[in-house]
Point group: C2
Chain length 341, copies 2
């Protein structure tokens, strides 16, 4: 078994430097790091991270708990988070709760404080007070994509101003001249996306528009659900000239439903979503949406978690960072209505 000391000797550095290269390459000069990596390769050295974790009281691994990795939003978030974690010298373990609170709890019990040194929780069905209880005795937890910046959750979090995202969507549709607007409100594993819906409604009301109750549907957060709901929406209220969906999956499903109904997007009906997942620019017509900058939020969440793990923060109350402000991205799925309302 090759030891760290042998690697250090061959690379003509101290053992501490080898450890730094393994843990946080940025702290070491590139030429030195290259020499250490060569020595590691030549000797076939394999750091025993579990042993080191125990010895140092840390395990080099972060965990990310999320509802369902097959929802196209999450892989993009995971990708960005993993890049941020890797830059800081950590592995990222993805724990998929399958939208099941019991599974989430089982993961939390085993992961927090033992297998992982810190945990990012995305939308799951685990209650906030359970997360707080876990964080109190185990590894730090950061709640990411918190939808209610006006009321901090009592846990460190990264909040996103989703109400503002909804407001931006409303303003865009109003400025184009839309007055008959339907809403698809997602009800995913993170709960009802009501901050987005309320932000949208507020702007509408300020313009004297109260959405027709028949033109608002609450549905699961998926393309298939968006498709079905849009068919129903257009049958309830056929005069709609625009549809606002609280996320891109619903919006994409709605666009497909409109195509199936023989309604042109955007000429007959405009569609706008929220998030800007990859698919948003890949579908045709490309989706107008309000981008929330997933990558930056993921990186912020990882950074906050690592600060908490390393006790670099001395906050009086749990910190709440604000994600970057949502931004309107106008593509091809919205235009002025044929007959302005």
């Amino acid at each position: 078994m090759v030891t760290l000391t042998e690697v250090a000797r061959r690379a003509r550095v101290t053992a501490a430097t080898v450890s730094n290269v393994l843990r946080n390459r940025e702290k070491v000069r590139p030429e030195t790091a290259e020499r250490v990596l060569s020595a590691i390769r030549e000797l076939g050295y394999r750091p025993n991270l579990n042993a080191r974790a125990l010895a140092e009281g840390r395990s080099s691994t972060l965990a990310m708990m999320l509802g369902n990795i097959a929802n196209p939003f999450y892989p993009e978030f995971v990708l960005a988070a993993e890049r941020a974690a890797r830059r800081a010298g950590y592995f990222l373990m993805v724990c998929n709760t399958d939208d099941d609170a019991e599974t989430g709890r089982a993961y939390l019990t085993q992961v927090a404080g033992t297998l992982a040194e810190g945990v990012i929780v995305l939308n799951t069905d685990i209650a906030i007070n359970e997360l707080c209880a876990s964080a109190a005795i185990g590894a730090p937890i950061v709640l990411s994509l918190w939808e209610h910046p006006e009321s901090p959750p009592g846990l460190p979090c990264v909040a996103v101003d989703f109400a503002r995202a909804g407001a931006l969507a409303a303003t865009h549709l109003l400025e184009l001249g839309h007055r008959e607007i339907g809403m698809l409100v997602g009800d995913g594993c993170g709960g009802l996306q009501d901050a987005r819906a309320n932000g949208f409604r507020e702007v509408m009301r300020a313009s004297g528009i109260e959405p027709d109750a028949a033109a608002v549907l609450q549905i699961r957060d998926s393309i298939d659900a968006g498709y079905e709901a849009c068919i129903q929406l257009m049958s309830n209220t056929p005069d709609l000239t625009a549809i606002f969906a609280t996320n891109d999956l619903l919006a994409i499903g709605a666009m497909q439903a409109l195509a199936a109904l023989g309604r042109q997007v955007p000429e007959d009906v405009s569609v706008i979503g929220i998030t800007d997942i990859q698919l948003a620019h890949q579908v045709r017509p490309a989706l107008t949406t309000v981008a929330i900058n997933t990558s930056e939020i993921a990186a912020l969440s990882i950074d906050l978690l690592i600060q908490l793990m390393q006790k670099e923060r001395v906050d009086v109350s749990p910190p709440m960072l604000q994600g970057p402000p949502p931004k309107l991205v106008v593509r091809q799925s919205t235009c002025a209505p044929k007959r302005p309302g």
Copy 2:
């Protein structure tokens, strides 16, 4: 700090039973498991998996190395693999190499044998001989989605008969009456998808059809690349009545390009892919494709890995399991050509 013994006492079972519940719930009677889980919850017991891993020489974690989690194929694979791992009492750590061989090697060095007890490698740019070298000194490695069942890689693997998938696509298009067929061949992080293309070509040739060189394009494995390539394909060879893509992302991009060109799918041009990712049934028209049963392949891979880890196999040479046979799934993107060739 609550101990395992206290949990055992409260649940009126032996410590070994508690350990079994934590590790492999299926070995324990449901009522007993429920009692143990209640005791764990009530006492706030938190198993120290790192300590246990060291004590037992195992770490309860499997790693999955893949090129890019944001390719929509992988999340579905990860979801299925994680479910299979969880059923067997393991966590699944997802290591994303970002399609970079150097990053892949760094992960492999640290993960195999220390942080994870076994590794599943999906398409990455790491050479087979490097994987073999790693497996010889560290944790077992299973190569999943091996595309060449006719030549085993020298590592335990789960192979998929992708040539057969290509052949099924060819037979479908031929039976519909297509003769002028374009090909989009993916060149992803797992290398050129030539087994699929060759399987397709063989069936074509058996019918006396040699694809026009101008009607075959090799491209990166993404919706955007499929879109661009299809525009070029239709400009090279405008008389095509069908397009075969070696994966669904390319096929979906091609369908969007055809729509942008004003060509109806399937009336003007039929499109068929391979894989059957979620999006295949979610796009409109829904994509005809050859399904490779991702979930079953993922589960097979996890099962094989665990057998190797537990030394339950005494194979003379590295085992190669066959994934389930590919299956044609006819949806709305293919039909007979207007003017049969």
